[in-house]
Assembly symmetry: C2
Homo-oligomer: 368 residues x 2
């Protein structure tokens, strides 16, 4: 027997070396400081939920269907919920078959599994600059390399996307995009650019992964057409975390059939199956409550918050600052700042000269 310089429990995989800091926890650590009003985390406004009705609903669920709700289910998720998810997606113009929906533990799990089935170490993922921090964590976990493509006020810039696809090698596995009410930039990909972005990716043989947790939270009432509504090959990720309740961790992926089978297998080795209990609670909520009105209530609260934030920015920020005016989603603020006082979650070098600098939207409460 030889001596082993590294303890047996610390002989980690190469990928584990990339897991060095938690961006998400850094956000939440700031968010929990009492003097801070954080706009960083995507936490829904649960005060708007009908808690008494939900309490009665969940009690009935356990009393009548406890034998099913508390038992293992299928890896793909419950058929009833997958049908309801298709109804939800129809609001954004998506026509889908419940057979192509895979229920996951939040859309984070869907993104993690999509990365698992697509990315070998060293593979390239294209993403907006800046990108959602949770997505960057999943890409790092699979040792994928992220190449950022800059946005402007109308979202991802098609000419820059084309330039990246011409030059980046190896050919990217997919474009990861939050086209609608982008986190953290607050911008939305214009309707004109949607078809263009899809055509570019198709031309270069690169898949598109559309992450759309905020799509139903538009302030105008008229949803943007999801990329998936324009192209059935788009891998679409959805979530009830923003439109209902994040603590249930119910999200989903809608994928082409050839991808679905792989995704279900990956889901099975990840968690065996999503919790039956939370799925059935979401199903009952969707079936028994006017969830569209609930989403409208949420949305009105977020619009009020946006307006308050815009007034504060106009009053308090120094001259020379500009910002985006998001027309949906959770409030985030992006502004072109001079210097490097405001840093986003994408490395500045990826943004290019004149690129967006995105603050996490953290304002300090002023002493009164």
């Amino acid at each position: 027997m030889s001596q082993h310089p590294v303890p047996a429990t610390e002989r980690f995989a190469a990928r584990t070396a990339g897991m060095t800091a938690s961006e998400i926890r850094a956000l939440f650590a700031v968010a929990s400081r009492p003097e801070v009003v954080s706009l960083a985390g995507g936490m829904p406004n649960l005060a708007a939920l009908p808690m008494e009705e939900l309490a009665a609903e969940v009690a009935d669920l356990v009393a009548r269907e406890g034998q099913v709700a508390l038992q293992y289910g299928s890896a793909q998720g419950r058929p009833e919920l997958r049908e309801q998810i298709c109804d939800v997606m129809a609001w954004e113009g998506i026509r889908a078959d419940p057979d192509d929906v895979v229920v996951t533990v939040g859309s984070q799990m869907a993104l993690d599994l999509v990365t698992r089935i697509y990315c070998d170490p060293g593979d390239v993922v294209l993403a907006e600059g800046p990108s959602y921090v949770g997505a960057l964590g999943s890409f790092a976990a699979y040792q994928a390399r992220v190449v950022h493509v800059a946005m402007d006020a109308h979202g991802l810039v098609p000419s820059l996307l084309r330039a990246a696809l011409e030059t980046v090698r190896p050919r990217p596995k997919f474009l990861y995009t939050v086209p609608t009410f982008h986190n953290p930039a607050g911008v939305t990909l214009s309707v004109e650019r949607r078809a263009e972005v899809l055509a570019i990716c198709r031309g270069y043989g690169v898949a598109v992964v559309e992450d759309n947790p905020y799509g139903l939270l538009g302030f105008s009432g008229q949803p943007y057409p999801a990329l998936r509504s324009l192209d059935r090959d788009v891998v679409y990720l959805g979530s009830f975390s923003k439109t209902f309740a994040s603590g249930l961790r119910v999200g989903w992926a809608l994928v082409p059939p050839a991808v679905r089978d792989r995704l279900v297998l990956a889901a099975e080795s990840a968690t065996l199956c999503p919790p039956s209990f939370t799925q059935m609670l979401v199903s009952r909520y969707l079936a028994a409550h006017d969830w569209r009105s609930q989403v409208k209530t949420y949305t009105e609260a977020y619009r009020d918050r946006r307006d308050a934030m815009l007034r504060a920015l106009e009053t308090h920020l120094p001259p020379g600052c500009t910002w985006n005016v998001p027309d949906g989603g959770f409030l985030r603020v992006a502004h072109r700042a001079r210097g490097r006082r405001h840093q986003g979650d994408a490395p500045a070098r990826d943004l290019g000269p004149g690129g967006l600098r995105v603050g996490y939207g953290v304002l300090r409460r002023r002493a009164r």
Copy 2:
């Protein structure tokens, strides 16, 4: 632009090629056939749960604590539940700090993440032959190679473990073991061998991953000492799926501090956080109910089933068959069969001559 022979959505990672068949679904497909009494899946006997009390509990949870239960939580899991988990583990002699517990979506997720942080493609995992099918799925997902070590009636055979560690290259990353009420073999690692197996692995610089979903379901009333109770470096996986309710998908890992930080980061990129809702329901159940009596009720039902099964085997199996008599856990049947009529989930070539042949315990109902 060039033409691309593989559709963009099917440019999968190398690991995805290994995801070709679902062992778990094959099991459940057989289990759902009406003429089959399946002993294959580890489904708890939920009829023994106090559903009316649980219904009241969960209604109160939503009504009083809905703002927390339906909101995001921490990636590591709720502190209250992690403390309670330490109390549960104390029943098997484990002394643990709640800081070293990571709550997961079932222990399957814990196993998947442990494999993620340890295994590069081509790394070796040692495991009993045969092994739990769900574990094999996770190992395959990370392109780890599994080398099986045979068991006898007293569990893993130490001399064969030592032989494997002498010969297998690269040096295995860890031994994956279900020492107590093994799935699917039904055998238990004897108390004498526990220290021996730990000493062998320590000597060869190989970590030990103890998967222990059934440990509290012993028929004698006196639990076996968990491997983790003998060695603080053991990576321990636990679950409420067998002792309470599998549909909540609440499991955990107890790991050394240097492993914990990596595991939490891996969990964060996998699902952001486990559902607050299901964690709080488990916490309330543990706090308000006599869960030890509940486990005893479960265990008595499983003992009755074992006895019925043993009577059936004695009556109906042909001469020359022998079988193990499990003294805890869910009923599974292992028998030395002549020929290859009964196949387990480990490839026959890994079992060696005279090795165990393990049936999934599926009996056909006879026409009466």
